[in-house]
């Protein structure tokens, strides 16, 4: 930990940029990774795991789009199609999007941002990774046995009484993944509460951590309900206890209520970390203090709390009373407010900032664009009268892909590029990164914008075939998917290449003022020898560009806390 790589900058009093011994090479051997308690290594293992899942989910997506390229059946039958779209949804939601930002990026970054040596419960952290592995294994088993055709929602009574596929192994997999998510959330909640460094009051907490805090609340309070719901579903499927079975006096819509009581907050478990990442990147790349810090921070928590009150809008057309639909519709509109507050504050941060279009920033700007479209089209679905028409059409599919892919996936890419130098110690090619980002953006819009149009014209979701009227939109969508795939492939190539031939990353390549950039890239095993003193995380004047280290270094004399 004392051997320093770049001598010149060290001599002139600049902070250490690289260390010979860092968390990646401080010990070796397979068990030093598999049994590690180091949050950074666990984060990297998660990153590998979710990337593989994303690739798998992407293959299913490709299958769907190729099948839908022309009317009539191309290369699968309808039953296979049902399995393919179900597995696409289930793998993407449970194995990729939900753990994506919190477990992979959050694990690496969260303790560093707090100047802590680790999360509060390192063993629990490792066990939640293995719960993820166990859940993924059940999914793999599902793939190689009879697959799954219920849709990712497992609606009863189809899933419990009629489906001839591996519902039990898939639900049990999701059950385990749920507990993985709960333990991650619990760990982060306690870490943020108890491990903050001296000087970091709640109002000096970086916005990424506010977002992770809101996410943790939802993970803790919503996910157990999914757990018990899936357990009941397993009991229903194996033993036929009858609680969701109308033939035995049970109520199948009760399953939908239980499921969405989790799964609507889960939508925010997916998007809140994305907003958290974007809040950091927008401020850093505008070289400007974030606008409306408290508004963004509190909106994260209010989204977390409101998310528990809107689940009923998924059941507007399934036997909900008129009064209930009215109330759920009204609350659904209110949740647009904190989301909009965030968007306006990001825009105000950009205003008169000195914006540099680095790869993370490009993804963040694309996020704002796509999330806004996704969010506003959500209002069409929250309105009772239009929802009756748009329910179960491609409009819904396009809406949630704009939020989940355009929102969460693009923010995940933004965060991945933003913290990549910190995680790996390597810089990727900016040019290639930007090109990949633009290709992905164009491809995404081409893939999903036509789905709004065909949805509003009546193309139902989850159908294996369609009328020739919709052919043009489906073909545009398929071409868009392929373009998006090319963008993501280029992104992957760029990042992997950087590991082998990228330049060494400086400690602070982007000029952020949060604490994780104060330790060398990649960080040493224990992160910080002493907890650093926290100040305003958005005081960008505190760091300046240094030609010699090709990164930002603290301005001498600006280390003291700054009031704002």
């Amino acid at each position: 930990m004392t051997q320093v790589d770049i001598a010149p900058s060290q001599v002139q009093g600049r902070p250490v940029q690289h260390l010979e011994k860092n968390y990646i090479n401080h010990s070796s051997g397979i068990s030093s990774w598999l049994l590690t308690l180091d949050h950074k290594r666990i984060g990297l293992m998660y990153l590998v795991g979710i990337s593989v899942s994303f690739f798998l989910g992407g293959l299913f997506a490709l299958g769907i789009r190729l099948e839908l390229f022309a009317p009539g059946m191309q290369f699968m039958d309808a039953a296979t199609y049902n399995k393919v779209f179900t597995l696409h949804g289930a793998v993407m939601v449970f194995l990729f999007i939900i753990p994506g930002i919190p477990a992979a990026l959050g694990n690496v970054v969260l303790p560093l941002m707090l100047g802590a040596k680790d999360v509060a419960f390192p063993r629990l952290n490792l066990s939640s990774f293995y719960l993820w592995i166990a859940g993924a294994t059940f999914f793999l088993y599902t793939l190689f046995s009879k697959q799954l055709d219920t849709g990712w929602t497992f609606y009863t009574p189809y899933s419990s009484s009629y489906s001839d596929t591996s519902v039990i192994s898939a639900t049990f997999g999701v059950f385990l993944l749920g507990f993985s998510s709960i333990f991650t959330g619990l760990n982060f909640l306690v870490t943020i509460h108890k491990m903050r460094p001296p000087g970091m009051t709640w109002h000096k907490l970086p916005l990424f951590l506010w977002g992770m805090y809101g996410t943790a609340i939802m993970q803790l309070l919503a996910t157990p309900v999914l757990g018990i719901t899936l357990l009941l579903l397993v009991m229903e499927t194996t033993l036929g206890i009858g609680i969701f079975d109308p033939k035995k006096g049970g109520d199948p819509v009760l399953y939908q209520h239980f499921f969405w009581f989790y799964s609507h907050p889960a939508v925010y478990i997916m998007i809140l970390p994305a907003m958290a990442v974007v809040s950091e990147i927008i401020a850093t790349f505008s070289r400007k203090h974030i606008f409306g810090y408290k508004m963004i921070a509190y909106s994260s928590v209010s989204i977390a709390l409101l998310s528990f009150l809107v689940w009923g809008h998924h059941m507007f057309v399934s036997s909900e009373s008129t009064l209930a639909t009215l109330i759920f519709s009204a609350i659904t509109f209110t949740i647009a407010i904190p989301s909009a507050i965030k968007v306006f504050n990001w825009l105000a941060t950009l205003y008169k900032g000195s914006v540099s279009l680095g790869t993370p920033m490009l993804y963040a700007l694309e996020f704002i664009w796509l999330f806004t479209i996704g969010g506003l089209t959500g209002l069409f679905l929250g309105v009772l009268s239009t929802d009756v028409m748009l329910h179960d059409t491609y409009f819904v599919v396009a809406h949630f892909h704009y939020v989940m892919v355009g929102g969460t996936l693009f923010a995940f890419f933004a965060g991945l590029h933003y913290w990549w130098p910190k995680m790996t110690g390597k810089m990727y090619s900016e040019t290639t990164g930007r090109i990949a980002s633009v290709i992905a953006f164009v491809g995404f819009n081409l893939a999903f914008f036509p789905q709004f149009i065909m949805g509003s014209r009546g193309m139902p979701r989850r159908y294996a075939d369609y009328k020739p009227d919709f052919e043009l939109y489906h073909q545009l969508s398929t071409v868009g998917t392929l373009v998006l795939g090319v963008g993501i492939a280029l992104l992957t190539y760029n990042l992997i290449r950087s590991i082998f031939s990228g330049k060494k990353a400086p400690a602070n390549p982007w000029g952020s003022a949060t604490i994780e950039w104060e330790c060398p890239s990649p960080p040493p095993h224990h992160n910080f020898d002493h907890p650093p003193l926290a100040t305003d995380p958005y005081d960008m004047e505190r760091v300046e560009w240094d030609e010699e280290v090709q990164g930002f270094v603290p301005v001498v004399g600006r280390r003291a806390p700054v009031a704002h």
């Binding site: 509060a120 619990l186 108890k194 309900v225 009991m235 206890i241 224990h526």
Partner: protein, 282 residues
């Protein structure tokens, strides 16, 4: 792994905490957060119970008669007593009373085994009567006890001459239902005469009859999940017992005992709700 997670003179203080208090407070917040998730985990079952009971109160009123209130009450007492010893163990750990700590942990574990033993007796008795959960549900004669005498009260109907239509199809029974309700008074008398209303009486409202099994589904899910929590508690307490015997706990390091006791209290609390909800209907 262990070499970089210790503080030398304080073997159980993890490297990323400043001191024992910091570690204890973090653990305490963690266990409380975990207990909140546990409450929400069970809440789904309680919600399912409430909804099914609201939809079919007669099913609950009738089926709950098969549960043995005395055994349930004994188990409630056993668990409440074990909560006392668990809380006492925390105090022992805080004061560094090793012998008492070991004794109290051991008593808590014994109570937990006692609870599971009684639960085993209850379950096996039910299985013996054919009261299995779900599709295997096939109650034998007398499964709902012979003390049931008031047919009206439990909301199902009896034909005046029950023997006559024995063996007929449910559809035929359904057709007779309107008629049969008029004779409920007479049926009541009939029931008194036989000393019991049998669960498999062919004249029982077929819908209610077919739904009785859902009560057992809920019963086994709720008590089963609670039982799993008791078993986890036993394993946890046994681990702590071995650590206590080895003298790991001191007045500055007793967090694990405190957390396990909190968990144990929650398991106890859930049973305190389960007992009246399942056993004390009526």
């Amino acid at each position: 792994m262990s070499d970089d997670h210790g503080h030398g003179d304080k073997p159980f203080l993890a490297h990323h905490f400043e001191d024992e208090d910091h570690q204890f407070d973090s653990g305490k917040l963690g266990i409380w957060a975990f207990l909140v998730t546990e409450v929400l985990f069970f809440s789904g079952l309680f919600c399912a119970y409430a909804i099914y009971r609201a939809m079919h109160p007669e099913v609950f009123t009738y089926a709950a008669r098969s549960l043995d209130t005395m055994l349930g009450a004994i188990n409630t007492g056993v668990l409440i007593f074990s909560s006392l010893t668990a809380a006492w163990a925390v105090r022992n750990a805080q004061l560094g009373q090793k012998k008492m700590l070991v004794a109290n942990l051991a008593i808590t574990i014994l109570c937990a085994f006692g609870f599971m033993g009684i639960k085993y007796k209850e379950y096996s008795h039910k299985f013996h009567l054919g009261l299995y959960p779900g599709n295997n549900y096939a109650p034998v004669e007398g499964a709902f006890g012979d003390h049931v005498t008031k047919a009206e009260e439990v909301g199902f109907r009896l034909e005046q001459e029950s023997d006559e239509i024995e063996g007929e199809h449910a559809s035929a029974e359904l057709a007779d239902m309107n008629e049969s309700s008029e004779h409920a008074g007479a049926a009541n008398e009939e029931a008194h005469g036989h000393g019991a209303v049998k669960w498999d009486d062919p004249n029982m409202d077929p819908e209610t009859k077919s739904q009785l099994k859902v009560f057992f589904g809920i019963y086994y899910c709720m008590t089963g999940l609670h039982g799993i929590h008791v078993v986890i508690g036993i394993l946890l307490l046994m681990w702590l017992l071995t650590r206590a015997i080895r003298g790991h706990f001191t007045p500055t390091y007793y967090g694990p005992i405190d957390y396990a006791a909190l968990y144990w209290h929650l398991v106890d609390l859930i049973w305190i709700y389960l007992f009246p909800l399942l056993y004390l209907i009526n």
